[in-house]
């Protein structure tokens, strides 16, 4: 055995015999557990988030305040809706629905209806409309009157070749086409 090897063995023996003395084993234990916990929960910790979010539950005054606010919100909501419903009910009982006297709405509505009619390929939207007997009568009368006027106009044009030519020329000029009713 060389002197170097002897020296090495002596140091090794000495190290084996001298065990480390720990100051605070509890601290080390805690640290180790902490490290182990960290490793096992390296992703998103749901329970941690929940604990964080609901930490207020364990603080008495915050818990009471939030519960009181919730109750107040429910009460305010119930009160507001009750008042509104009462007012709407009262309104439906007291207001009188009348036929339109006059106003800008008819023109606007007719314009809107015409736009819808044109944009929908000249088809009325598939919904039910309610019209009074009087309105129906007026509509039928208007259609009859329109047909009569149309016939009169046709006769007038047919009876006057000069007039017919003028009309045809005008129609071509204006690129108008006869609308099939």
């Amino acid at each position: 055995m060389t002197p170097e090897n002897e020296k090495y063995n002596k140091v090794l023996d000495l190290l084996r015999k001298s065990k480390p003395e720990l100051d605070s084993t509890e601290d080390i234990e805690r640290e180790v557990i902490k490290m182990i916990t960290k490793v096992s929960h390296s992703g998103l910790n749901l329970s941690g988030v929940i604990d964080f979010l609901f930490r207020w539950v364990y603080i008495g005054w915050v818990r009471r305040s939030l519960i009181a606010t919730s109750i107040a919100l429910v009460l305010v909501f119930a009160y507001q809706q009750t008042i509104i419903l009462k007012r709407i009910n009262f309104l439906s009982r007291q207001t009188i629905i009348i036929d339109r006297e006059n106003g800008p709405a008819p023109a606007d509505e007719v314009e809107k209806m015409l736009m819808v009619y044109r944009n929908s390929g000249r088809r009325f939207p598939s919904k039910n409309i309610t019209i009074s007997e009087r309105q129906m009568k007026e509509l039928l009368e208007s259609v009859n009157e329109l047909q009569l006027k149309y016939k009169d106009l046709e006769n007038l044009i047919e009876g006057d070749p000069e007039f017919k030519k003028i009309i045809e020329r005008k129609l071509i000029e204006n690129k108008r086409t006869k609308i099939n009713l």
Partner: protein, 354 residues
Amino acid sequence: MKRKSNKLVVSLILMLIVSCNDPETVVTNYVHPDGSVTRKIEMKSMEGDGNKRFKISDIQVPLDDSWSIRDSCEVDKKGDTTWIRRAEKLFKSIYEINLTYKSDSGSNKKLSRQAGFIKKFKWFNTEFMFFERIDKKLSFGYPIKDFLNDEELLYFYSPEKLKSDKENGPDSLKFRALRDSVKHKTDNWTAKNMVSEWIGDFSKLTAGKADKGISFQNLKSREDEFVTLIEKDDKQLDSLWKNGILLKEFLGAENALKYKTEADSALSIVTNNIWANFSDYSVRIVMPGKLIGTNGFIDSSHVLLWPVNSDYFMTEPYKMWAESKLPNRWAWIVSGLFLVFVLSGVIMKVIKKD
């Protein structure tokens, strides 16, 4: 201006009556949630020609060149032409509408009119109120509700078309009786207002110099007596006043002579106030969201409608108002989430405790 109970009234109306060229006018206010208002005016007229047809001075509500204006015409079955002018303008706020009322040069320029908009944030909903108000004309008049019952009041404030429909409808007898009753009572109301206003104005004009016998309190205590006198001789009222007979009955022979000038001036003020130039029109309001309150009528297009007639604001301000609400969806969601959060916390605590 429809109740002419006596000659004096008729003659005054004839003197003060406005031009027959007044267009049939409807003002529609489209109220937006931010307080801006799109105002549309539709005027119909069968009179006049060219630009004279819709003269600014004949129009019942403020209108000027800053409005977008469209003219059109309709020909009915009889061949009669109705000229229609439609005007539209977006007012950024109520303040702008009120400015136009102040600078109005139309036929109702003497009226004091205001519009108002109130927006209330109530967490779950936002409530809106829009109104148009016309101030009262008389200072010493009586409210119409003291003279008419609820049914009569409803008839009184109804649009003309509704009245005529009812009078010619299935219950025509009932509604004609109601019409007659309202007419009789409103005639009495007009006479009483006239006397009350005259007493008030006469007392103001003679303040400090009149005898105790013709003091305001004294004349007021004899008000019903005066009204009866007027209603009894309504056909000769004009001549009775001119000859000083009525005044002698009111004030006594000596005072009638002494205060003739003040009495005539007071009558002039009264007639100017009661039968001031006014052209009827209609107001319509379209509110944002759901309607929750109004004192108006709802027409077939679900738009609120009020007729504006000079009688309506004779003794009380005439306020046409509507209230609506828009739900604040975000507030509903926030509140719902908050409730779920608190409830979850409470449940969690209860579970952990166990």
